[in-house]
Amino acid sequence: MIAKRQIAQVESFGRWYFRRARLRWLVLVAALLFLNGCGGFQSVLNPGGPQSEHISRLWWFMLFVSTAVFLLVMISLWLAVNSRTKPTNSSPEKETVGTKGRKGLIVILATGVTVAILFAFMVDSFLVGRGLTAELERKQGLNIEITGHQWWWEVRYQDVDASSIFTTANEIHIPVGVPVTFSLKASDVIHSFWVPNLHGKKDLIPGKISTIWLQADRPGVYRGQCAEYCGHQHAHMALWIFAEPLEQFDAWRRAQIQSAVSPASASEQKGQQVFLSSACVMCHAINGTPAGANFGPNLTHLATRKTIAAATLANDRSHLQQWVDDSQQVKPGNRMPANKLRPEDMQALLDYLQSLK
C-alpha cells in the first residue's frame, strides 16, 4: 500500500519535473556551476603545468571511457528489460542450442572488451607515471626545500651562493616555465604536499628527503594543502604558489634576500623592542635583528605575504592582532601561545610587524 503511494508520488514528481522547464534550466545552471568549481585555483582539472596536464588527460580519458561503458551497460539493460515485456512464446525450455551459443559469445566478447579497456587504462597510467618521473631527471632550475611543521610550511630557497639562501613560509613564488625541484622534509609527523593544479601528491616524511619536480606554464595563483592527516589543524595547513614571469620573480627574490628593514618611526622601534623582549623571540626569526629562532615561521618579510597562519587568515592588522593576542581562538592546538600584551605594546608591535616589507 505504502509502496504504491510512494510510486505514485515519484511518478507525479517526474511528470511535474518534465513539465517544468524552469527547473531543468536551474539544474543546468547548477551543473555549470559545479563544472566551474572544477576550474578553480585548487583543482586537478585546471592544469597549470606539464605534469598536471598528464594527470588531467588521464583523468578525462578514464572519465570518457567509463561513461561510455556505463551508457552501454544501461542501454543493454534497457533492451534486456524491454524484450522481456514483449509477449513472446519462447520459454527457457524452448531455448535452442543456437541462442545459447550466441549468449555465450556475447559474454565472452564483453569480457574481452572489459579486459582490453582495463589493460588500456593500465598502460596509459603507467605511461603517465613514467612521464612524471622521467621529467624529474631535469634538475636544472630552482631548488626549494619545504619542511612540513604542525601546522605550517617552511620554505627555503636553496642557492649555490650561501648569501642568496633565504627562508619564508607558506607562500611560494616560482618563475613561469622554469622547472622547480622541491626537496620535501618533515620536522614532526608525515605531511603531504599537494598543489592539484601543478602536480600530484608527495609525502613529507620525517628523517627522509623526498623530491618532487614541477613547473608552472601559466602565471597564476595556485592553492595547495596538506594532504595527509597530521593533527588537529591539518585542515588549516594550506599554501599558495605564485607563478610569476621571470623578471617579477627575480625582483621578489632579490627583496627576500635582504635583511629586514630597520624600524623607522618611534612606534616601530618600540614594537621591535617588544618583539625582542617578549615570547616572540623564542620561536621566530627576523634577519638583521638578534631574533634568530627557527621554530616558528621566519618573519623577516612578513608584510609582503598575503596571508598568515598557513594561508588561514588574510594578512591585515586586525587578523595579526587576533593572532598574536590569542591564536588558540583561531587555530586551537597550534604551537603559538597566547600573548596578552599591554594595548600600547600590542599596537607598537603591530606597527613593527606591518613595516616588515
Binding site: 623582549s277 623571540v281 623564542m282 590569542d326
Partner: protein, 186 residues
C-alpha cells in the same frame, strides 16, 4: 541469595573501577586548547635562595598530563635547554637526570629557576615563555629523574634516543646538592 548479592556487588564494583580507570586515563591525555595566557609570572625569589624546598601554594597543573609532558619534551630542545643541559646528562649546565638538586626538586622550584634564572649561567626566561609552557618544562625536567608517574612520562623520542625513554627511568630520590663554588655570590 547472600552469595549472589555478593557476586553482583563484586561485579558492579569491578565495573565501577573500570569506569574510574577509564576516566583517569582520559584525564591523562587531555589536551588543553585554552591554556593560561602569558601573565605576570609571580614567583619571586631572592638570588640567594639556597635550595631549601619551601612548600608553595602553587602546584604544577600539568604534572599528571601525558600530552603536556610530551610538549615539555619538545620545548626542552626547541627552547634550547639542550644547549647547556644536553639531553639531561649535563654539559656546561648541571645534569638534570641525576638525584642531585641544587635549587630544589619540587615543581615550583624548577618553575622559579626557569622564570628567575640562577647564578652562573642560567638565564631568566621571565615573560619569554608562557606560564603553561614553563609548567610543562618543569614537569618534563622532573620526569628525567623519574619523579613523574610512569604512565605520564614520555615513552619515546622523535629523534634518535640519547637515553632510555623517560618512562623507563627508575625514580631517583632527590638529594640536596651544594651550590658549586663558581656559582656562589661574592
Amino acid at each position: 541469595m547472600y552469595l549472589r548479592n555478593l557476586k553482583l556487588s563484586g561485579t558492579s564494583a569491578a565495573l565501577g573501577m573500570v569506569a574510574v580507570l577509564l576516566l583517569a586515563s582520559c584525564k591523562r591525555e587531555t589536551r588543553n586548547f585554552d591554556p593560561s595566557p602569558m601573565g605576570q609570572q609571580k614567583v619571586v625569589m631572592s638570588d640567594l635562595q639556597p635550595g631549601a624546598t619551601k612548600p608553595s601554594p602553587e602546584r604544577n597543573p600539568v604534572e599528571e598530563n601525558a600530552t603536556a609532558l610530551s610538549d615539555g619534551k619538545r620545548l626542552f630542545s626547541q627552547y634550547n635547554c639542550t644547549g647547556c643541559h644536553a639531553n639531561g646528562g649535563g654539559a656546561i649546565g648541571p645534569a638534570l637526570m641525576d638525584e642531585k638538586w641544587i635549587y630544589g626538586s619540587e615543581p615550583e622550584n624548577i618553575y622559579a629557576t626557569i622564570v628567575e634564572g640562577r647564578p652562573n649561567g642560567m638565564p631568566s626566561f621571565r615573560n619569554k615563555i608562557s606560564d603553561y609552557q614553563i609548567w610543562e618544562l618543569s614537569a618534563y625536567v622532573r620526569s628525567l629523574s623519574g619523579q613523574i608517574r610512569k604512565d605520564v612520562a614520555p615513552g619515546r623520542s622523535d629523534d634518535m634516543n640519547a637515553h632510555p625513554s623517560e618512562q623507563r627511568v627508575e625514580r631517583k630520590t632527590p638529594e640536596q646538592s651544594a651550590i658549586p663554588k663558581a656559582a656562589e655570590q661574592p
